[in-house]
Each structure stands twice: as structure tokens, then as C-alpha cells.
């Protein structure tokens, strides 16, 4: 499902101007498609590479 980049851009504070969106939209769309392809092989229980690891506290 393609994202509505214009709507997302307008919803931000400060909003991303339309002229800027025109410059970056193609790149965003391409990244979105590439990421979606990679997601197809990802198993449900794969954790992010950066996770919170609590350390022992020494008061």
C-alpha cells in the first residue's frame, strides 16, 4: 500500500514544505519498496539489532 507522503508531510510540526517533498518523495518511495521486499523474509520473532540491555546497578 503506497503511503500518502503529502498527508504525512502536512501532519508534521514544523511541516515539510511541498517544494521539499517534491525533491525527496521519489527516494522515500524507492526505500519503502526496497524495505518491504526485505520484510517478506523476516521471521516474526526477529528482534531489532539495537535492543535495551539492563545493566546491574551499583548504588
Amino acid at each position: 500500500m503506497a503511503k500518502d507522503w503529502k498527508l504525512i508531510a502536512k501532519g508534521l510540526d514544523p511541516e515539510v514544505p511541498e517544494s521539499q517533498l517534491e525533491k525527496v518523495q521519489a527516494t522515500l518511495q524507492a526505500l519503502e519498496v526496497q524495505l518491504a521486499t526485505l520484510m517478506e523474509t523476516l521471521s516474526h520473532d526477529t528482534e531489532p539489532a539495537t535492543i535495551f540491555v539492563p545493566t546491574e546497578e551499583h548504588p
Partner: protein, 461 residues
């Protein structure tokens, strides 16, 4: 002259730190109007530290090979009492109250900092054409970029202004300027050199390392910088080892992988030839060169870009109301990062884990990899696309294509000069190693460097 040669001369008393430092400052004064390599020059402090270094050496208090050596530090590292701009208008007047861990360690090793080097704005780009502090130029051809974001550091080392300059590398920002400027650049393993006191661009991709005139100089600098720092949560407790290869070091039996596919596609023929020639040199020195198939590096680059865009925008979001204070290219990237949903960022970090696991298999076959650092020599200032074969490619995407993925994996990587193209511009060889195997890639790099013998070739300025 290298750090090793200067260090010997200092101990023989044939030269003093004050002489080296004044020579460095004189050369900076002469070339700075052209090269724009510095944001701040610390002349008085440098002179005082050089006097102190000479006094200490005379008294037998030797802090090691960097003692009394003029160096520069990229303006992303906090320096107590000296402004630290990160190449940005936002921080133009920021004077930190603390030193970055790297600066502390350089001071402890007796290095003499002569200034803070210019860089791409916020370390977010590869041209180092800084809209606030000037366009850094490549000493080999003043109409060309030095690479970035550590472009001032690359330019300063290549022009012989300093013996070593510190850089930071989030998607190639040490290795790209090393390749374009004909210097050595070392990106250590993630967690090997502390990031404490460095203005962050990307929390999970930022690495700190030196640019130098020789591989052994990079190694002895890493000796001074490496080690655990409790103030950096990603700092690794793995004990450091000596990194400096001996003069008679050997690479007998070291397995070097020459990747098929990605790394030699869409690369200038002179670059591919120079890297293959370096592999032959390594083979003659006793290494075993084998073809190797790697996991898809394009996938690493995709998730690297998603992570970079999101983390950088998260870091800088609080300043984005001041849109006029950003350069146009950096603002476009920061806006782009804000538009990517959090779910995409998290999924990119999940895929990162999978790709890291896939890459483990490579190290069962080889000890290190030889690849080009950049697909071409330095592009011209203002050039936006590169033509490789029949394809037009964005200069930024092309220049980061062979280095970005290594930041995603956190692996150590070294860039060193491996040839010159038909225009006389330097070309870079990238040696990638296993995590925390800096000593091995430095050993291989030193042997290749000795055999190729490009160290004496300097730009005519």
C-alpha cells in the same frame, strides 16, 4: 614525513616539537585561504603544548609516538574551551566545557592539536562543501571535492598540514575522504573507540578514527585511542591489543577474499584494476587470495539509509524550526528522515540483525576482504551525478555505495591508496575485517602499502 619518522627525529633531537608545530602552522597559514581545511586554528595553545612536549621529552618523560606531533581534530569532537561547531550554524558559538574522550586520549599521548578541521555540515554528507565555513578543496585538484564528511581532515593530511587528523564515519565519512585525498583512513569496529563528547549524527552507526599518511601511523594512533570508556554505552570491554605492525611483518597464509559481483560492478575500470593489482601484491607477499560471494550489500545499503535518515532526524528534530540555519542538502535529508514511519526504522533494525548473522558465514572462508573504497576518484565540486558505464548515478549515492554497509555491520575497515587514475588522482583500496580484528587489517594494509610504495607521492601545492 610520517609520524614514525617525526617521532624518531624528535628523540634524536634533530627536530623539536616547536619546529614541527611552527612548520605546520606556517603551512596552514599559506594554504588555508585556498583549501579551507580548518574551522578554528589553535595557534597559541599549540605553541604552548609543543613547548611542553619538548620539555617533557628532554626530561625523559616519553608519552609515546604521538608525543609532540602536530595533529588536527574534526570539528565534531568537543574540545574544552575551544568552540566546536559540527560544521553547523546552530553550534557556531558552542564552547564545550569538556573534552571528547578522543581529545583526552590525544592530549594524554602528547599530541599537539593545531586546529579543528572543516567538515560537511553536521557530518551529514560527502562533499564537505560547507555553506557556513567554506568549501573544502582537494589538494590533488582544487576543483574537486575532498570527500566527506571528514573532508577537512583528509585535505589537511594530504596537503601535509598535519601528520594525523581525526575523523568520524557514519556511512563512509573517514574512508571516502581517505580515498579521494590519497591518505589512509581507519574506521575501527563499533565500540572500539569511544564516542563520548562527539556531537552525534547517528547513534547506532557513528564510528571514530584517524586519517594519516601511512598505515602504521593509523595503527599507532589507534594504540592511543582504543579502549573501554564507561561514559559511552556502546564502548566495548574487549581488551585492546598492540596494533602497530613491525617493519618485517608477514601476511603469509592470510586469506583475502576478493568479492564477486557488487563491489566490482559500476566501478571505474582504473579503480577495479588498482584493487586487483593490490590483491596480486598481497598474494606475492604470501597471502591467499580467493574469490568470495557476499550477502547482498545493496540490502545493507538500503537499511543503512533508513537507519541513517531516521536517527539523524531524531537527533536534530529540536532544531528544525530554524530551517534557515541549515544548508539545503542537509535540510532535505533531515526532512526525508522525519517522513519515514517509526515502524520502518524498527524493521530496518530487525533486518540489520539478520544481515549481520548472514555475514558471519563470510568469515569462515576468509580473514579479510579487498574492495574498492569508492567507485571513482574525486568528483568535481558541484558535480551532482557520475556516469559509470551507461548509468548516471547521484554522486552521494555512488560515493557511499561501497562503504555504507560496513557501518551497518559495525566491522573495522581501512582505506589506503592503491593507485592513481589517468588524471593523476588517487584511488582507494578498502580492507574489511572481522569485528575487533583491526590488527590484522592494519598488518595486511602495511604490507600492501610497503609493496606499492605510493607514500612519497604528494600533491603539488
Amino acid at each position: 614525513m610520517t609520524i614514525q619518522e617525526a617521532a624518531k627525529a624528535l628523540r634524536k633531537r634533530t627536530i623539536s616539537s616547536v619546529e614541527l608545530t611552527r612548520d605546520s602552522l606556517r603551512r596552514i597559514a599559506k594554504l588555508e585561504p585556498t583549501l579551507r581545511t580548518f574551522i578554528t586554528i589553535t595557534e597559541e595553545a599549540a605553541e604552548a603544548r609543543a613547548i611542553q612536549a619538548d620539555e617533557e621529552l628532554a626530561a625523559g618523560a616519553d608519552r609515546g609516538p604521538l608525543h609532540g606531533i602536530p595533529v588536527a581534530v574534526k570539528d565534531v569532537f568537543s574540545t574544552r574551551g575551544i568552540r566546536t561547531t559540527c560544521g553547523s550554524k546552530l553550534f557556531a558559538d558552542l564552547v564545550p566545557e569538556r573534552d571528547a574522550a578522543v581529545v583526552e586520549r590525544l592530549k594524554a599521548s602528547g599530541a599537539v592539536m593545531v586546529g579543528k578541521s572543516n567538515m560537511h555540515e553536521l557530518a551529514y554528507g560527502i562533499t564537505s562543501s560547507n555553506p557556513h565555513f567554506g568549501t573544502v578543496r582537494n589538494p590533488w585538484d582544487l576543483e574537486r571535492i575532498p570527500g566527506g564528511s571528514s573532508g577537512g581532515s583528509g585535505s589537511a593530511v594530504a596537503a601535509g598540514l598535519v601528520f594525523m587528523a581525526m575523523g568520524s564515519d557514519t556511512g563512509g565519512s573517514i574512508r571516502i575522504p581517505a580515498s579521494f585525498c590519497g591518505t589512509v583512513g581507519l574506521k575501527p569496529t563499533f565500540g572500539r573507540v569511544s564516542r563520548y563528547g562527539v556531537l552525534p549524527l547517528d547513534f547506532s552507526l557513528d564510528h571514530m578514527g584517524p586519517l594519516t599518511r601511512s598505515v602504521r601511523d593509523a595503527a599507532l594512533t589507534l594504540d592511543a585511542l582504543a579502549g573501554f570508556d564507561s561514559r559511552d554505552d556502546t564502548s566495548n570491554r574487549k581488551p585492546v591489543e598492540p596494533y602497530l605492525p613491525s617493519e618485517a611483518t608477514s601476511i603469509q597464509g592470510v586469506r583475502i577474499g576478493l568479492p564477486e559481483g557488487f563491489y566490482f560492478e559500476r566501478v571505474a575500470p582504473t579503480v577495479a584494476e588498482a584493487v586487483r593489482r593490490a590483491a596480486v601484491v598481497a598474494e606475492r607477499a604470501g597471502a591467499v587470495v580467493v574469490p568470495v560471494r557476499l550477502p547482498d550489500i545493496a540490502n545493507l545499503n538500503t537499511i543503512g539509509r533508513v537507519i541513517l535518515l531516521c536517527e539523524a532526524s531524531a537527533t536534530m528534530e529540536r532544531y528544525l524550526a530554524r530551517r534557515e540555519d541549515f544548508g539545503t542538502d542537509v535540510l532535505a535529508l533531515l526532512d526525508q528522515g522525519r517522513l519515514i514511519p517509526a515502524t520502518d526504522y524498527i524493521n530496518a533494525q530487525r533486518i540489520r540483525r539478520v544481515l549481520r548473522q548472514e555475514f558471519q558465514a563470510v568469515w569462515k572462508q576468509v580473514d579479510c576482504l579487498f574492495t574498492p573504497t569508492t567507485p571513482t576518484s574525486a568528483p568535481k565540486i558541484g558535480q551532482t551525478t557520475l556516469k559509470l558505464g551507461t548509468d548516471e548515478e547521484d554522486v552521494r549515492i555512488a560515493s557511499t555505495r561501497l562503504v555504507r554497509g560496513i557501518n551497518v555491520l559495525g566491522l573495522p575497515a581501512l582505506s589506503l591508496p592503491c593507485g592513481f587514475d589517468e588524471q593523476g588522482l588517487p584511488l582507494g583500496l578498502q580492507i574489511i575485517g572481522r569485528s575487533f580484528q583491526e590488527a590484522l587489517i592494519l598488518r595486511v594494509g602495511a604490507v600492501v602499502e610497503d609493496a606499492l610504495d605510493f607514500r612519497q607521492r604528494m600533491p603539488s601545492l
